[in-house]
């Protein structure tokens, strides 16, 4: 059980955190034919867009209401109206998904009210495009909170109770900490049991690096509005990460049975999912899955030599922190420092004495004496100063390619993560040298008969 502390500093140094509206737009990127729209200054969108472009090496559709000082004070109605109409005209998306920012929240824009008016005024023009809005002030919470709020808003907007359940349909509400590769793995696991997964959002279809035939100004791939609406008819919904509890509860409220997995990294976590899928499908696990489990067990056996006793400093959003820290702990490593971005009930369960809601400066100070820094790419400076390796996890990872294909869930994903962590430690093994085991002064004094000076040894010339 960890104690959760807040940083007492006035000034955040080397931020670990990213903002809520970006997290919300990230969720919207997992919907098909969608244009995420930040209601704020154009810089808000620009920064977020660049960050995601650098992480995914993909074009990122994302727009701005381009608020300026005057429009902010007057209220953003006009800008939202213009933005929606412009987007409809230029991109004709199935969904325009709006997230507020600190600027418009400070002013107190009634976006729901605006949208009501806009929809009424332009009903014909906007036909065929839905609009959804989520409130995500920058000065509250963090990236994963924005994601969670966005998914909750989507469910609130589009899911109504269903009369029947579709046999074998399994809804998946993944947290923001899962990569497209993770989602693909979850999908495969579910499909393996003859079930039909519907992921909302589904980054594994929109940000997995596919090559479109033509240029599309909106998202391509991802969960459709039909998929979201169809959540109500799922036999069961699997939510992944504590952050998704709210969204899952909304679905439960419309009568969909849900199971929340606080992580899917690790042997027991994956076992739990497999057990559920066996129960839901009534099917046995296929041989391939059994082999994968055996391989993971073997990887744990091989990997424990290298992870056991290692001191790891982790900086990540709550659910990712929990998943990574749990794995490190399960492999015999010590989570010697844990820093996160925002509060979450999961934090008390992180296997470490103390979790700090703080920044990378906090992490760097706590990582002194650690063997590994485990955080996003911004940790590179700290790792260099600490002279320990950095293992990149989370967003952003701007200085590597293939981040979308980083896998850390399921048997295979955990297996490979263990290998990668172990190999990182092996690559940085200390080769012992003659000065590694110095005698303390007390012993040296004793060996010299208690004399303060060294004995003079007679030299015998040959």
């Amino acid at each position: 059980m960890a104690i959760v502390l807040d940083s007492k500093k006035a000034c955040a140094v080397n931020p670990l955190k990213m903002s809520q509206p970006l997290g919300a737009c990230y969720a919207f990127l997992g919907l098909s034919s969608t244009m995420p729209l930040m209601h704020g200054s154009q810089g808000c969108t620009s920064f977020g867009l660049v960050l995601l472009v650098r992480h995914f090496k993909e074009a990122i559709p994302m727009q701005t209401t381009a608020m300026n000082e005057v429009s902010t004070i007057l209220g953003g109605m006009d800008n939202i109206e213009q933005a929606v109409l412009n987007i409809k005209k230029r991109a004709n998306p199935a969904l325009i998904a709006i997230a507020s920012t600190g600027l418009t929240e400070t002013k107190g824009d009634d976006v729901d009210g605006y949208l009501h008016l806009i929809r009424a005024k332009h009903a014909e023009t906007l036909a065929g495009s839905e609009i959804v809005y989520v409130s995500t002030p920058d000065f509250v919470g963090a990236f994963q909170d924005g994601w969670a709020a966005a998914v909750k808003a989507l469910i609130a907007a589009f899911v109504t109770p269903a009369d029947t359940r579709v046999a074998g349909r399994i809804g998946v509400l993944p947290g923001a900490h899962l990569t497209p590769a993770d989602l693909e793995e979850v999908r495969e696991l579910i499909e393996t049991f003859g079930l039909h997964p519907v992921l909302v959002p589904d980054l594994s279809r929109s940000l997995d690096g596919h090559i479109p035939e033509d240029f599309t100004p909106t998202t391509l791939g991802g969960a459709s509005l039909g998929d979201i609406r169809g959540l109500a008819a799922c036999e069961h919904v699997i939510a992944i990460g504590e952050q998704m509890r709210g969204a899952a509860e909304r679905l439960e409220a419309v009568g969909v049975p849900c199971t929340l997995f606080d992580r899917l990294t690790g042997l027991t976590a994956t076992d739990a999912l497999v057990a559920l899928l066996m129960r839901l499908s009534g099917q046995p696990a296929p041989a391939r899955l059994k082999r994968q489990r055996g391989q993971l067990v073997d990887a744990m056996l091989d990997g424990h030599f290298h992870l056991g006793g290692k001191r790891v400093a982790i900086g990540a959003e709550p659910d990712l922190l929990f998943a990574l820290a749990s794995l490190i702990h399960e492999m015999g490593g010590e989570v010697a420092a844990a820093v996160t971005t925002t509060h979450s009930p999961v934090l008390t369960r992180v296997p470490t004495p103390e979790v700090l809601v703080g920044d990378l400066e906090d992490l760097e100070l706590r990582a002194i004496g650690c063997d590994l820094l485990l955080t996003h790419a911004h940790g590179r400076q700290a790792a260099a100063r600490l002279n320990i390796p950095l293992f990149r996890a989370g967003i952003p990872q701007f200085d590597r390619i293939g981040a979308a294909h980083q896998l850390s869930v399921g048997y295979r994903g955990t297996r490979d993560l263990i290998f990668q962590l172990a190999n990182t430690f092996i690559a940085h093994l200390h080769a012992h040298g003659p000065d590694d085991w110095p005698l303390p002064a007390e012993a040296r004094a004793a060996a010299q008969g208690g004399a303060a000076t060294e004995n003079v040894i007679p030299i015998i010339p040959v």
Partner: protein
Amino acid sequence: MDARVSAKIQSVFEEPACEHNQNKDEKARKKGCTKQLSPGAAAGGCAFDGAKIALQPIADVAHLVHGPIACEGNSWDNRNSSTSGPQLYRTGFTTDIGELDVIYGGEKRLFKSIREIIEKYDPPAVFVYQTCVTALIGDDIEAVCKRAAEKFGTPVVPVNAPGFVGPKNLGNKLGAEALLDYVIGTVEPEVTTPYDINIIGEYNLAGELWQVRPLLDALGIRVLACISGDGRYKEVAQSHRARAAMMVCSKSMINVARKMEDRYGIPFFEGSFYGIEDMSDTLRNLARLLVERGAPADLLARTEALIAVEEKRAWERIAVYRPRLEGKKVLLITGGVKSWSVVAALQEAGLEVVGTSVKKSTKEDKEKIKEIMGEDAHMIDDMTPREMFKMLREARADIMLSGGRSQFVALKAKMPWLDINQERHYAYAGYEGMVDLVREISKTLFNPMWELVRVPAPWDVPAVGEVC
């Protein structure tokens, strides 16, 4: 709007040295050079972004962003401006204001933040960047900075360019104004020489300044201050003692150049490090200004001698690539201005420029492009990604040179692309950079990967393996 910011923006808009403004009537000039952004169809950074771009390369300064997490948390450590020494500019400082700050005001947190930074990092100065939210709630950063500077005995410079006052371009200038108001002229250099210059508006991306400095070093020209690439606070503070200045053609800091001329009598010219002839012109102009200001006249001859050697050397190295590149078609999309200087450079390498963006170019720039590319010059005012994609897919260009934003437009069209924006690792300045650029274009164009990725998938055209 904060009256000070408002006044500053007006002063920037009325910039007499900016020929944008010279061609506008009184009213338009007042309105300034910022186009009204189109909601839902806008791209590019805000004024805060621009101010940060302009000032953050000063490497020993602590750059503190006063605002919610988005402004720094989503954006820090994302540019490749290089340093030869201090690393502090790469540290992200932000007040990361919360809900309570929004309600009660963030000035106290800002003041404490400045104290923490000075206590922990002891920088020669702290630059404090205003943002939208803190501007909206009325935090007076000038007052806080003044109080902090007095209290801690360290310069604390307010940079009042909140995002919502305009685009990146404006932010560059507002950032520069902070230097004019609070930094330049506050320190006297220990010594000066007749060869002291300033370079204004050069950010040392990928270390490009270091492709140029050896030329200046060889001539004995001393860079008193580069504003702001690989900059130091003290250098900028004493830059008013330079004999001449070069304003790098991006105009992002024309106000600095012009006001330093006004205030300190430092003549400047507008030059470019991109392209062989541009580089030579730049050296000539520097030498000319310095000699006009009293440097020994032999500098002119020495400069010409150096130019002769270096141009020859560059041409020889480029000649190797010309046969391969001759006639290859380039689409050049720069976010910046003066694309003509890049055009000339590419033509030197045998490449045909089939289109170039003139979004931010002046009338004069456009004339120069016509001069270089001919009357039929394909000048692109604002190309949509869809148009770029189409142009590339139809192979009307063999390669696109642009910033990171349009990168994936080219890549998804399976067409070669070269980064010429701020994140790139490669340096393209001076004679060396030109050779490097040509090598990179050649490397990219002739990568066998392009042909492979264009091969249809087996489900489109079945093929067979080798049968033994």
